[in-house]
Symmetry: D2
Subunit: 363 residues, 4 copies
C-alpha cells in the first residue's frame, strides 16, 4: 500500500517538496475526537527549522483541514489535511537534476520512477513531507492522551554526546514535549547544539539517536508473529528520513548480556503485574506487557553537506564532483523527534483500534 | 493481518509447539517454480537443534506439502506445508501453567487471549513455529537464487565475541549457507560455541548479532514512505523470536559519524552505478540502490535459563519463584540464522513481485 | 491477497480437488469461542453430495483441526483445518488435460498459470474447496449465533420454479438450516428436485437463485465508500462457484420502481427504529440499518453436462468436440446454500470485529 | 481500508458535500503516464448535472492536481486531486438534521458516527464525492486506453424502457463515451428522458440499469477465490451510490438456463481462443478469458423525492412526516454511468498492475 500506513486507522501522505502542497489523509479514525488546531500548530512548530542549527528555509506550515472535521470534532470519515508549499525556491535545486547527491534518493528515485520523478528539492522524498505526518499525528496524539497514553522522545545522543536518562517518565515526557531541542539535560543540549553549529560552520553534518517512551499502553497489544509491536512500529519508523536502526528495550546491548541479566523479572506492584527491569522495552513475544514501551532510532547525519563530494551524473552516466549549495540542515535529529512521536501515535492508534474497535478512542 | 506477512506473495503461519502440527500457507507465488524438497530438508536441518549447544528436543521436521505443488513445480495456487509435531512432551510444561516465565510471552499471551491460549511449550509463540517459516522460505530462496539474488547471514557476534567481516560476499555466502554454525572464521566460531556450552553448564544463556547480506537485488525496490525496504524487512525480522534490534548499513554507528564520513559516494564501475562505501546498507530513501543490502539483527539471550528466577503466578496474582527444567537452548543465535534468511527471502520476493509482477520469478 | 478473505478476521483457503488435502486457516478470531465439532460436521453434511440430485463422488469430509483450538475453545491464534481428499479418482480426469471444458476454468487457469496448474478435477478451482470454507464458516456461524446474529438461505428459485417467500424470518431460518434441500415449501422443493433429476437424465443441468437473510446484525456496520456492506459481501459471494449475480433488497427489480415506491419509510416499533418495507435489504449508504439483511445470488447451471460440446484443445490449439464422463452434479444450487451462509458469516464476523474489536464475539 | 479501493494501485477518497473540498489520492500508479487535464475535465462534465433531468446544483468541478504530476506526467508518487466545493448552500439542508430521509444514509450515518457526522447534504455520503472518483478514474482510463483496454457503459434500461443491444462493441463504446445521456439508440434515450422529466414533474424519481463492456482485457486476470474478477469489480461497484445489484454475463437470467444453453463453447478465431457466446461475461472461474467483460448494475430511483414521506426524527426518537425541498436529481442513472466506468478502470488497473507489475501500464 506504499504511501499508506495502518490497517484500521490509516494515514496516506502525498506531496513534493516544491510542488503545490503536501498533505495527509487519515482514514478510520473514530468520530467524536476533538481536533485542537492549536496543538497541531504547536506540533508543527516543533518540526519547523529554527535558529542557527537548522535550514534557513522558512516554512509557515499553514495547514488546512479540508474534510473529516465538522464543528471541531472528527466525523469518522476521511480527514484530509493540506499544507501548501510557500517558501519554495526551485532555482536552488535545478543544478541537481540528473546528479546523484550521495546518500540521497536521487539515484534510487530515478531508478524506480524512470526519470519521471519530481527531482526538485528531493520531491516526494523530501523531509518536508513529514510535516503532513506531524499534522496527522497531532490529532492522534491528542486522542491517545485522552485515553491515558503518553508519548515522549528525547535526543539520547547527538554529535557523540549522550543525554542523561529518564528519571520520571511522565514528568520528563511533559517537559520534553514543550522543548524545541528535546533533551532531558539542557546543558548537555546546549553542548550538542554547539557541536551542530561547529559542524555547520565546517560545511558538515551530524547524527544522533532518539529514544522514545510510551506510557499507558495497555498490555495485550501486538501479535505473536509478523504484526508484532516491534514489527509494526519499526515498519513505520524507518520512514522517518535518515533512520537506519531501530532497537527496543536494551536493544543491541542485550546481545551481550547473559539470560540471567537480560530477563525481566515479573513482580506485583499496587495489584498490577510489572517487571522489575525493562530490557525488553515493555514487549514480550511481540505483545505489550503493560510496562513503558521504550525504543531508540539511529538517525544518520544529514546527507546534504557543503563539501565537495564525488558522485555520478546518472543521466549522462559519468562521474562528477558535486557540492551542495542552498539552505540545509546540519542536523535533523531534533526535528525528527516530533515525527517519531507522530508515527508512533499513528501506529499505536491503529493497533488499539484493531484490538478494541473503532470507537474505543472516544469511549 | 496478524499471522500473515506479505501483500502479493504472502505467507501465513499456524500451529503450536505441542499441538498436532505447525505449518505455513504461501499464496501468490508464481506458477512454475521448481520445488526442491531436498533443499527444504537441508534448510530445516540448519534450524534444527544440534549437538551440545542446543536443546535436546529431537525434531524430525518431516514436512508435508499438501497443496500447491504438482509434478514438482508450484501451481500458482496456495502452497500449504504441514509439519507434524512428533517429539512433544507436554508433561514437561504443565508446571508452567499460569506462571509468567521472565521475558517469555506467557503473561502477554494470557493478557491478550484471556486465558484461552495454548500455554504448552509456549504454544503459538514457540520458536518451533519458525520451522514453518524456514520451509516456506526455502522454496522462495531457491526461486530468488535462480534470478541471481543470494542471501547469506553470519553470526557477527555471539557471547561477546566478534566474527571477522565478509571478504568476498558471494563465496562467503555460499560457504556460510552450508554451515550449521554460520561464522566466517571457524576458529572464532569454536570459541563462541565454547562460551555457549559454558553458559549452558552454568544454567545460563547468551545472545548475539546476526549480519545478513543480500546480493543481486535490483535497484528501485522499496517505497519512499512506509513500505521502505528497511521498514518492510524490519517488520518481518522482529518476528524472529528474540530479535530486539534491526539496523541497516552502518546502523547505530552511523549516528556518531559526520555526514562527510557517512555519505556513500557514487561511482561508475563496469558501466554500473555503485557506491564506494556502503554505510546505507544498499538503501537510499527506502529504495535499493543496487549495492549489497546489509543489515544486522540483535538476538537476545534465550529467556529460558535453569536458574531460580523471581516472577508471578498471574492466575493467582501472587509473586513466586520459578526455575525452568526440561530441554532448552542456551543460545538460539545460530538457529535463528536460517529463519532470518527465510524471512528476508519472503519479504523480498513479495516486493519484487509487486514491482515486476507475479510471473517475474519464472521469467 | 488472493486466496484470503477478510481483514481483521481472515480466512485463507488451500488445496486441490485431487491433491492430498484441502483446508483453511482462520486468523484473527477471538479467543474463547467454543468449537462445536458436531456442528462443523453437520454443516459439512449439508454441502455434501446426496442422493440422486448430486454427484456420486463420496466425500467423507473428515476434517482435522490441526491448530488454534485448545481444550475445545479457540485460542485466538490461527486455526488450521485440514480435510484430506479421500475418494479422488484421478483417472476420471486425465482425459481433460489441455481441453477447455466450456464455462469451466480450464482455459483461464492455463492462461494464468502457464500450464503448471493442477488440472485434475478442476484443481484449485474445484467446488470441493468450498468444504474448507464451510468448515471455517461453521465455527464463525456458531459464534455469531451466540451474539444473536442468525443467517439463513433458501433456494428461492431452481429450474425455473419459485419457492414461496419468508413468512417468519427466525423460525424459517431455523427450519431451513436443518434441511438438506433448503426450500420454505417442501412440495415446491420436491418439484424442483424432480426437474433436477429430469435434467440429469437428459445429461443436462439447471441453475437457480439463493436468497439469504441475516437477522440481528446491529446497525452501523459497513463503510460509506468501497467497504460497503454490499461491496464486502459481494466480493466474497462471487467466490461461491457459479455465482454470476448478487443483488440486495429489491435488487434489479428496484431499477423499475419509482422513488416513491422504492423508498423504505422509517418508523418506530418497540422503541426501535425500523423501516416499514425493506427494498434496500437492510442497507442504506453501504451501512446496516438494523433491518434484516436480504440478498440473492444467481447460480448458473453446472457447466459439466454429459452432452457433446464444441470446444478447443488449448495445448494443441485446435477445435475439438468434448463430452464429459464421470461423476457430476446436475445442479449445485442446493449444495451452494451452506457455502453462501458460511461466506456471509465470515464477512460479517470480519466487519463486526473491525467495528467492535477482536474480543466482541466473546464479550 | 474503508475509503480506499485497490491494493497495488489504490484510490482513497475524502470530502463532504458541503465541506471545503472533496478529492482523491491515487497511489501506486506507474510513473510516466501522460495526464490529460482536458480529458479529466471532459469526464467530469459527463457526471455533472445537466439540463432538466438533473439537479439545478451548479458544480464547476474545478479540479486541482496538488501532487504526483510533474511536467504533465505522473511521477509514480501519490497523486492528490482536490476539487473545491463552490456552489454549496448549507441552508437548504439544515432542516434535515436529525431526520432520516427514507432510503438515504442519514440514520445509518448517525448510527455509525454517533451524531458527529457532517449531515449537510449527505456529507461524506453525497454523490458529490463521485466527482473525485471520476477525476481519478480519468487518468487511469486514459492509461488503459493506451494499452488497448476500452471501457464503455450504456443505460441499458431506464424508467422501464430498454435500450437496444450493442452491435459493434468498439465503435459503440467510442460513441457512448461522447454522449451526455449514454444510450445506443438516441430515440429511446429521448423517451427515457421524457419519463425522467415526467417523474420530476410528479415530484418522483426513476431508476435503471447500466451495462458495461470492457474490451481488450487480457486473459488470466483475476484469482480463483475471493479476488475473483467479479468479486473485485462488484466490491467497488456497490460504492456507486444507488447500486443495489451487480451481475455478469447473462447474470440472473443464467439461473433459468439449462447448462447446455448457458455454457459458452470455445472456438478458435484468427488464431485466438474465443467463446461463441458470452453468458459468463468474459470470466471463467473468476479469471478473464479474453472475451469482452460484460456486467450490469441496477441503479435504484433517487431516494430524494418531493413528496411527503413518513419517517423518523432519530435525535428525538419520534415519527414525523418529511418532504424534501431544494435541488435534486429525478434520476441519477445517466450521471452514474461515468462513475461506473471510472471505478471499473481503477479496479482493473489495480489487478493488471498486480499481475504484470507496476510499470506495465507504461511499457
Amino acid at each position: 500500500m506504499k504511501n499508506t500506513i495502518g490497517n484500521n486507522v490509516a494515514v496516506t501522505i502525498f506531496g513534493e517538496s516544491h510542488g503545490q502542497a503536501i498533505g495527509a489523509v487519515i482514514d478510520g479514525l473514530a468520530a467524536g475526537i476533538k481536533v485542537d488546531t492549536d496543538f497541531i500548530e504547536s506540533q508543527l512548530s516543533l518540526r519547523r527549522p529554527n535558529g542557527s542549527i537548522s535550514t534557513a528555509r522558512s516554512e509557515a506550515d499553514k495547514f488546512n483541514i479540508v474534510s473529516g472535521v465538522f464543528g471541531g470534532y472528527t466525523t469518522g470519515t476521511p480527514i484530509c489535511i493540506v499544507i501548501p508549499n510557500e517558501d519554495k525556491k526551485s532555482k536552488d535545486y535545478s543544478e541537481i537534476k540528473g546528479k546523484a547527491r550521495p546518500s540521497h534518493a536521487d539515484f534510487t528515485a530515478f531508478s524506480k520512477y524512470n526519470g519521471f520523478e519530481d527531482y526538485r528539492g528531493g520531491g516526494h522524498f523530501s523531509g518536508r513531507i513529514t510535516a503532513a505526518i506531524v499534522a496527522a499525528g497531532a490529532i492522534i496524539i491528542s486522542a491517545l492522551k485522552q485515553k491515558g497514553i503518553n508519548i515522549g522522545t528525547h535526543i539520547s545522543r547527538c554529535a557523540q554526546i549522550d543525554d542523561i536518562s529518564f528519571s520520571d517518565y511522565l514528568s520528563d515526557i511533559e517537559s520534553l514535549n514543550k522543548k524545541q531541542f528535546a533533551v532531558l539535560d539542557d546543558n548537555i543540549g546546549q553542548e550538542m547544539q554547539n557541536r551542530i553549529i561547529a559542524a555547520k560552520t565546517d560545511g558538515d553534518s551530524v547524527g544522533g539517536v532518539l529514544e522514545t517512551v510510551v506510557l499507558g499502553l495497555p498490555s495485550g497489544i501486538g501479535e505473536p508473529w509478523f504484526d508484532t509491536l516491534e514489527g509494526m512500529l519499526s515498519h513505520a519508523l524507518f520512514s522517518v528520513p535518515a533512520v537506519k536502526g531501530v532497537e527496543f528495550g536494551a536493544g543491541f546491548a542485550i546481545a551481550d548480556m547473559k539470560g540471567s541479566a537480560a530477563n525481566d523479572a515479573f513482580a506485583i506492584e499496587n495489584k498490577e503485574i510489572v517487571t522489575t527491569t525493562n530490557n525488553n522495552g515493555g514487549i514480550n513475544g511481540g505483545i505489550s506487557n503493560g510496562m513503558p514501551i521504550v525504543f531508540r532510532c539511529a538517525v544518520k547525519p544529514t546527507p546534504t553537506i557543503l563539501k565537495l563530494q564525488k558522485t555520478v551524473d546518472f543521466e549522462n552516466m559519468k562521474e562528477i564532483e558535486f557540492k551542495a549549495s542552498g539552505r540545509h540542515d546540519p542536523c535533523i535529529v531534533h526535528r525528527a523527534r516530533v515525527v517519531v512521536d507522530s508515527i508512533t501515535a499513528i501506529v499505536l492508534c491503529d493497533m488499539l483500534s484493531t484490538k478494541f474497535g473503532t470507537d474505543w478512542l472516544v469511549s
